[in-house]
């Protein structure tokens, strides 16, 4: 299946994010810029991210873009590119950032083994710990009441935001880089390094099953707004020559749509206008979009 469109960037992206509503996308380019495009590839705006190119890029709600460099966090207004906040959040590198729908709660997962919870103004209000090892992935329920964090010890830890209480420890064979709550907070999906996509009841912690399995690590999972579909993509690491694909599951019928991506080390999945699946894969300076 050929992409719906492809376009070139002025420098290769090193980090990439699709907005939660799938209406725009942003990348850190290797020339240090942060660039935002519409889904059609129209450049909206760009700005210089800081002294050194950010290592990771994430949307916090629709209107905030979070760039991480090592253990520091910079929050930008996605419309103006204005830097709103910057602070040193962790002593070790941050691997993932996630937020509630209104960006009033956001979470940073770090190699220091903690997940820190921050208010929208950058005030720390909770430090969460799991087992030995690093925290690799994090998801915040859209309502901002619960946080899921994936440790390199392969467990997924479910916390209540208000108290910081650990509610469930979810057991996986291998760690994951991808976590997402369904919009109603009922389900949690994880994509693991061993290629499994696993679903749980996010309230009880009960496993619902494994809708699919890739032969490469899973890099992204994302629910549709109605929670009835789940999109996931693999990534070409270990080995870097492995071909991968994106899949969109209908969780009721178990029908699956597959989009081959070839070798892809940077990609994203989501749902445009919360309904239509979107897959983005990046190769060197070329961004390819499937709608």
């Amino acid at each position: 299946m050929p992409p719906t469109r492809s376009f070139e960037t002025e420098a290769p992206p090193s980090a990439f994010a699709l907005s939660p509503a799938g209406t725009e996308m942003a990348a850190v380019l290797k020339n240090g810029k942060i660039q935002v495009w519409s889904l059609s590839g129209k450049p909206f705006r760009s700005w210089t991210g800081g002294d050194s190119p950010a290592g990771g890029l994430f949307y916090a709600g629709e209107r905030r873009i979070v760039a991480v460099t090592g253990g520091s966090v910079a929050v930008f207004d996605a419309t103006s590119g204005q830097r709103l906040l910057r602070w040193d959040a962790h002593a070790r590198p941050i691997g993932a950032v996630a937020s509630s729908r209104d960006a009033s709660v956001f979470a940073t997962a770090s190699d220091d083994g903690t997940v820190k919870l921050w208010k929208g103004d950058g005030t720390l209000f909770r430090t969460l710990r799991g087992g030995p090892g690093e925290m690799q992935a994090v998801a915040v329920a859209l309502a901002g009441d619960r946080v899921a964090a994936a440790g390199s010890d392969t467990n997924v830890y479910l916390f209540e935001v208000r108290t910081g209480a650990l509610q469930h420890v979810l057991d996986l064979d291998m760690s994951c880089f991808a976590l997402d709550f369904s919009p109603d907070g009922r389900l949690l999906a994880a994509g693991s390094v061993d290629g499994r996509v696993t679903l749980w009841n996010a309230k009880s912690g009960a496993s619902i099953g494994v809708p699919g399995r890739y032969s490469v690590p899973v890099s992204a999972v994302r629910f549709s707004a109605d929670g009835k579909r789940l999109a996931a993509t693999g990534v070409s690491i270990n080995p870097s020559t492995a071909e991968t694909e994106a899949r969109i599951w209908d969780l009721s019928s178990r029908e699956v749509t597959t989009i081959p991506l070839g070798i892809s080390t940077l990609n994203a999945v989501g749902f445009h206008q919360a309904a239509h699946p979107v897959v983005v894969a990046i190769h060197d300076r070329t961004i390819s979009v499937w709608e």
Binding site: S152, T154, D173, S175, I237, P239
Partner: protein, 211 residues
């Protein structure tokens, strides 16, 4: 990854620096010290190092991690598990995982993965092949997670002084891999076996802190 040194240059440099030990072949077990009750010598805890994304639970109990005929230089690792008082920890659970000779982890199965228990006097040993290099990591390494009741789990990695990434001088060059934060984790390599069947021997002491 390109290295300026030829293999011969590197081996000669490693041997000159005492990083590669040749004849007489030393049995790793014979290198390990023994401690009698009442004569304990305190030990520094083994430095911790990243767990990384490739740990896999429930690996098989095995002391032979590589599949039969796997490519790469055969490797035997051995040592003892202690606490910081210097007491041995028989029964400590040691989980080990590393990349293949080609630098690829087996995430679908359990090749180059295994777990074993420390024996009497805390001794352990296993055989595999020397791991390869892979993108995003500069140095060859083997991951360890060691647990024993009453002790904090030890998560660490073993590196090899003969690694081309260290260019024969790990004292100076260990920082080339940003994850290598302690020179102590880089161990000398002893070659034994005949000219046609070389094998690398490495000893690696594991010291756990009390919980």
């Amino acid at each position: 990854m390109a290295f300026a040194l030829s293999r011969r240059d590197l081996l000669e440099k490693c041997a000159a620096a005492g990083l590669l030990l040749l004849a007489p072949p030393l049995r790793a077990f014979e290198l390990a010290p023994f401690f009698e009750e009442g004569a304990l010598a305190p030990k520094k805890p083994t430095p911790v190092n990243e767990l990384g994304p490739f740990y896999k639970k429930r690996s098989p109990r095995s002391t032979h991690l590589a599949p039969a005929g796997a490519p790469g230089l055969p490797l035997a690792v051995s040592g003892q598990v202690f606490d910081t008082r210097g007491a041995v920890l028989p029964g400590a659970l040691i989980e080990i995982w590393h990349a293949s000779h080609a630098g690829v982890y087996d995430n679908q199965g359990y090749m180059y993965r295994g777990q074993l228990s420390a024996a009497e006097k805390g001794a352990y040993s296993f055989e595999s092949v020397l791991p390869g290099h892979y993108p995003d990591r500069v140095a060859q390494h083997i991951h360890f997670m060691v647990s024993a009741p009453g002790h904090r789990p030890l998560v660490t990695q073993l590196y090899f002084a003969t690694d081309p990434a260290f260019e024969g001088n790990p004292d100076k060059n260990y920082v080339k891999d940003r994850l290598v934060q302690s020179r102590e984790l880089i161990r000398p390599v002893t070659l034994d076996g005949g000219p046609g069947a070389p094998r690398a021997l490495v000893t690696f002491e594991l010291v756990l802190e009390t919980a």
